[in-house]
Subunit: 329 residues, 2 copies
């Protein structure tokens, strides 16, 4: 078979998904395993097993060559050197791992590692909601808030790959504390965790509002209460969306995108948030900038991680030889 | 003479400076005129006169060819098409001007137009404080606050050139109103205008603090009072610098630069602000990002505008033929 194929791997807090990805974004074969919880060596072993298995499967289907292995994972990723610098609290021990080197040595294939939101942005950019746009910003609203930026058709990585941490943009230096140590981050207001935390604080201060157990409240509860017309939940979500609107204006001022793409679990469930932000943004900020932006919902769901991760092998092939060569030395 | 030369023009609110710029950043000849206050046609006429005069001077010195004309001006500039979209309140009527086309038709030379802070960033990047750095963010603190971003060695322009409006990043959605219509912008806290406005408000609320005329207070007064130990002035500047620290962390999270360069009139006068911001930033935000940034003071003074504007002709020469050709049609 002449068609190019790549291995795409999406490393998440609960599961690792790995698939054979075509340049058109089809996932021909996929395996999913629960993420090991007993240390990085075990996760790396899982990755090796998955890759071995997928290489066998590719051969069975009839692909003579796999172009490369692309990985997406949460955390601050040193894209240039393929190192997981500081991971996420959701994956135990996921820090300071020269992942590219480890995998490249084991399989003698080009390997690319990037942040999970960056690879989703690749999928959306080449195959999804942002196809045809050169300057795009992505925000994913889920447990946390992630960001990715495409500038002149390329992912914006910054000095080592840590750019576009847009969930940790503060829109209120006197605002709520964020898990990252900073204050007033978008993530502290409008992520699943942020919405739940804000509600817990509200109810601790105003116990008359709710007589159930407070500590187990989730963002899902808050959205449901708002839907039922409960004023304290509606006003909390209004606050969260207002923070998102300010964050969005900051993002527009910083990057002058022509398109903003919103995705993630919260947007999948509540896509009305997108026009709500859009309406607020129109009345804030610098007119020439805020009025030249379109808003869209992510086209891909859960599979974007595997597709985008795998897509790296097609995008970055040109640089691979040089990169590979440096590992021989 | 074989050396390349370019015409660099810096259009400001009070004066237009134009010079013959070498690739090494020397300004061989310079003319300065007060900016016309009676409409855009008059400014364009001034530009034509200056260019005519500089072309004559270049010939006298012995340059057979001028490589191009580079212009830097305040406002939102459509870099791709060379249009001044929305200018600054400091230059009357400076909106919707197809400046590139006007100048190119008059002189049959390649013309580049960019935001004034962007061209200063070019000068600093190729010849000044940021030489050798590929990922840099520039902040100029003066009457307003301007920003520019270098990513992978290139100016970040966004979709049409409006990116890096970093003075209009909000760090408090409940903060002071900004001239741009937005709230809590860095410019509203820490620009010359912002510092003066904040002080006027403070004194209107607390008339016992000061018995002189309030409306003529400038940022210079505030810095002097702080220097004299006046608590209300010190606390106002502390607030302004804190806002700058939050803005800087947002910028680091967004762009992952390896260097931040601060310049402009306020920094020229009070360069202690740089280490003060640096100390605050260290204790905020995501460790791997905030700890991988250096801080520096701009190397160039007033002449950076002319040098950087002119430098565009050397940088962008490759694209010029294509651009020029499209104007023939």
């Amino acid at each position: 078979m002449n068609q190019d194929i790549s291995i795409g791997i999406d490393i998440g807090g609960t599961k690792i998904a790995a698939g054979l990805v075509t340049m058109e974004g089809a996932v021909l074969y996929k395996q999913v395993v629960p993420t090991a919880t007993d240390g990085k060596e075990h996760i790396i072993f899982q990755l090796q097993q998955l890759i071995q298995s997928l290489l066998g499967e590719a051969k069975k289907i009839g692909f003579r060559t796999v172009k490369g292995i692309g990985i997406g994972t949460a955390g601050q990723i040193d894209f240039k050197n393929g190192i997981v610098r500081s991971g996420t609290s959701n994956i135990k021990d996921w820090n300071d791992i020269p992942l590219k080197k480890e995998i490249q040595q084991a399989f003698a294939l080009p390997v690319w590692i990037d942040n999970d939101v960056n690879v989703v942005a690749l999928a959306e950019s080449y195959l999804g909601a942002a196809k045809g746009y050169d300057n795009v910003v992505f925000l994913t609203l889920g447990t946390g808030i992630g960001g990715a930026v495409i500038q002149e058709g390329k992912l914006l990585h910054g000095e080592w790959g840590g750019a576009a941490e847009l969930g940790h943009m503060s829109v209120d230096r006197n605002g709520p504390a964020c898990n990252c140590g900073y204050k007033g981050c978008l993530e502290a207001y409008a992520s699943g965790t942020g919405v739940a935390n804000q509600m817990k604080q509200t109810l601790h201060k105003n116990p008359e509002l709710y007589d159930g157990p407070i500590e187990t409240i989730t963002a899902r509860d808050v959205f449901q209460w708002a839907n039922e017309g409960k004023a304290f939940a509606k006003s909390l979500l209004d606050e969260a969306i207002d923070a998102l609107a300010y964050g969005t204006v900051n993002i527009i001022h910083a990057f002058n995108p022509s398109l903003l793409v919103f995705g993630g679990g919260i947007i999948d469930q509540h896509s009305w948030i997108i026009p709500d932000i859009q309406n607020r943004v129109r009345n804030l900020g610098i007119t020439s900038l805020v009025q030249s932006v379109s808003f869209a919902k992510a086209a891909f769901g859960d599979e974007a991680g595997v597709i985008g991760a795998g897509y790296q092998s097609f995008l970055y092939r040109e640089n691979v030889q040089k990169e590979g060569a440096s590992y021989e030395g």
